[in-house]
């Protein structure tokens, strides 16, 4: 054993126990600063959404109380004061026309928007991946059937179905859940198409053949061999679906099949604020800015997860996998 090697090993991380796959994943994720920050932002946003009543109470406001005195009625209802009526009482100012507290509305809105988008995205990804994989791995007939079902799914416009469903589902059914289900249940074709295309390409590789020889069933192969490779495009796509889902919720609200007022949602706020960009810019900038931050954070996080999922990235990220090489070498020589 040369001195050089000994020196080398002295500096190496003393990782005694072998790191499991999950641990390695976390290590690779943490090694990316941007992704860590993004994860923190996402966490914060979701916490804020969960703690909306608490935060609003902290500000001493609630999202539904009107403050007619805080808007200039003769001027169409613009908030009185600069920057959309920002004050010690109203941290983010007030809503034009109604004078409702924007801080409270934004945090409550996060609940609906993030909630709906998360559920819808999870649903889309789950259905999309399942259908896509089944089409790629199943028999030719199954592929045909599933692909055609996907086509029908695409051909039916979301709005038409949403309006149809609204007529059937009783109004006692919680609306945000219904919306999430509708969006998730309808817009999954993109995911399934991407997954199918990728899975078809992967299917012909030798490591899949090897897995078949291991005696593993189709689904186990799909889960263990294909899914890890599909994760990258799926995560990227899911990060894109998320903001789309938020805006779809807004569009549905616009058509009257969305969240019922006075419950706020970011999408709804965006729709309403659209015309106010000149006279009350903060009203538009708030939901737009938050949406942007959310999307940015999610995308960066998605990117981070994508990188962290790729074991080959470890060397790029300059993290040692923490193994003692000497041990192995001695063994190899000894045998």
């Amino acid at each position: 054993m040369s001195e050089a090697l000994l020196v080398q090993e002295a500096g190496a991380a003393p990782a005694a126990a072998p790191a499991s796959g999950a641990r390695q994943f976390w290590r690779r994720l943490r090694a990316q600063r941007a992704a860590t920050v993004a994860a923190a932002v996402v966490l914060l946003l979701f916490l804020a959404a969960l703690a909306a009543p608490l935060l609003a109470a902290l500000a001493g406001q609630d999202p539904d109380t009107y403050h007619p005195g805080l808007v200039d009625s003769a001027a169409g209802g613009v908030p009185v004061g600069s920057f959309g009526g920002i004050s010690a009482d109203h941290w983010f100012g007030v809503e034009p026309q109604t004078g409702r507290d924007l801080f409270a509305r934004v945090v409550y809105g996060a609940r609906v928007s993030l909630g709906v988008a998360v559920v819808a995205t999870v649903l889309q990804v789950t259905i999309g991946v399942t259908v896509g994989l089944a089409a790629a791995l199943g028999s030719r007939l199954l592929d045909q059937v599933l692909s055609r079902i996907t086509d029908i799914n695409v051909a039916l416009p979301l709005m038409v179905i949403a309006l149809g469903l609204l007529a059937i589902v009783p109004s006692s059914f919680p609306r945000p859940v219904l919306i999430a289900l509708v969006i998730g249940g309808i817009n999954w074709a993109g995911t399934s198409k991407i997954v199918r295309a990728q899975a078809l390409a992967l299917k012909s590789l030798d490591f899949v053949s090897a897995a078949r020889l291991s005696g593993r069933g189709r689904w186990s192969i799909a889960r263990r061999e294909l899914l890890p490779s599909l994760a990258a495009p799926v995560i990227t796509y899911a990060a894109l679906l998320f903001p789309v889902n938020i805006t779809v919720e807004a569009a549905l609200s616009f058509l009257g099949v969305g969240i019922k007022p006075p419950t706020p949602s970011w999408g709804q706020m965006l729709t309403e604020a659209d015309t106010w960009y000149q006279s009350a810019p903060t009203y538009l900038l708030l939901p737009a800015g938050l949406l942007f931050v959310t999307v940015l954070a999610l995308t960066v996080l998605g990117e981070g997860v994508r990188t962290a999922l790729d074991p080959r990235a470890a060397s790029r990220l300059r993290i040692g996998t923490g193994r003692e090489e000497r041990q192995e070498r001695t063994k190899e020589r000894a045998s």
Binding site: A210, R312, T321, K331
Partner: protein, 545 residues
Amino acid sequence: MTTPLVQVEDLTIDFGTVRAVDRLSFTLEAGAALGVVGESGSGKSASASALLGLHRGTGARVTGTVRVAGTDVGAADDAELRRLRGAKAAMVFQDPLSSLDPYYTVGDQIAEVYRVHNSVSRRAARARAVEVLDRVGIPDAARRARSRPHEFSGGMRQRALIAMALACEPRLIVADEPTTALDVTVQAQILDLLHDLRRETGMGLLLVTHDVGVAAESVDDVLVMQHGRAVERGPVAEVLGAPRQPYTRELLASVPRVDEKRAGVPGPRTATEAGPLIEAVGLRREFGRGAGRVTAVDGVSLTVHAGETLGIVGESGSGKTTLGRMLVRLIDPTAGRLRYGGTDIGSLPERELRPFRRELQMVFQDPVASLNPRRSIGESVADPLRAAGETDEARIRDRVRELLERVGLDAGRYERHPHEFSGGQRQRIGIARVLAAEPKLIVCDEPVSALDVTTQAQVISLLAELQRELGIGLVFIAHDLAVVRQVSDRVAVMRQGRIVEQGVADDVYGSPRDPYTRQLLAAVPALDPVRAAARRAARRELAAA
């Protein structure tokens, strides 16, 4: 020549905490050939890559100086490096199967590289591609140039890569195990070609190989590597003839010889009480449709009994891999019957094949492609155990560790991923996975071609041991005739999809009947450089005649 073509000083390469190459220095003159031999994982490929600056942009840390054809590789900017790569120095990679772009035809890929360094028309570049493909012995090169990589056999892909390296007439070729997938005749042809080019154009050759025979046949100097360091260097005759270092001696001792009979094992079982393990009758497989149809395997019949080894040798592209894959039912035969243990499995649908899956295993020709890059190797090896219904995590781990150690790998690398292993190490992972399935029949497609001789000997004795213990039937596909002779009870020789000769190993080797078999045996590289030179001359005369 004032300055050498390649000048390496104090080259050190670290992957994270792993030191793959440790203060390596050597030079190579124009027109000379240097062979790098050594055990698997000793840093041969890592050093070779460093010559072209291929570690740039990866996580590897490279120190020391490398000068190639007047370019300081470490200091050169990207443009300079690009001018070096391909045009002045070309690389033939170790893993031929995954080194080509699946979307483009082989001809186009070679043409693309050619056009990067030569301003010629697309058409001229294609013509050049066909020309070099022809030179490396791809039959019907003009047509095959239009095939995509997945339509090529392993050896054909390797030759395509060599053709690519030749296309720009570089001053240096760095060939990393360029003949692992080639049968001996083609191997000889390639080695002769490289030799000739060296003569004619003054090209330098850095040949990384674990096959001492190949080195003996084609290089002037040898560098023996171990643990990232050079242990011995000198003229080939000297090092091979009178090795000074114990490691070199050990290495040479492990080299199998083609004229050596199978030792320690009683002769082939002739009478079998239980009937054959697997029986193929008139197996046939076609690829493609219409004009592009290729008959890869054509009417092959064979049997393998429990505890018996059938060696398959033959020309590159003769259908060995295709046949092997059919035997384990990874591809469906176009025609013919396949019986396994009394069941006709030739046309069983996937679902009904399940019970047999784990009993029929295959070691794949390309270790890179057969391992999922995103899963740790431990998990890959554990697969068959899980599929068998084992749920106790501790037991699975223990068994996997045991298997890894059995194939000579450090059990502690359970959580590592395939890209962190050398070519030979990956090959052994594949074998460990096969063993985990506790199979009845193993089809080994070039299982030792990527292994250095010591590891090779180890793996072979491992297989023999298992066979003895468990009565496994083995189909051993290889181009190394010596290895095949060492392991096989019976041997089948394939050519153009057919079995041209089949019989007890010693009979086939001792008194070959088919002219092709004779040709093969004549092409086996000799360990003695002097004899090798003589044989090359003989081959050239034969070709000239």
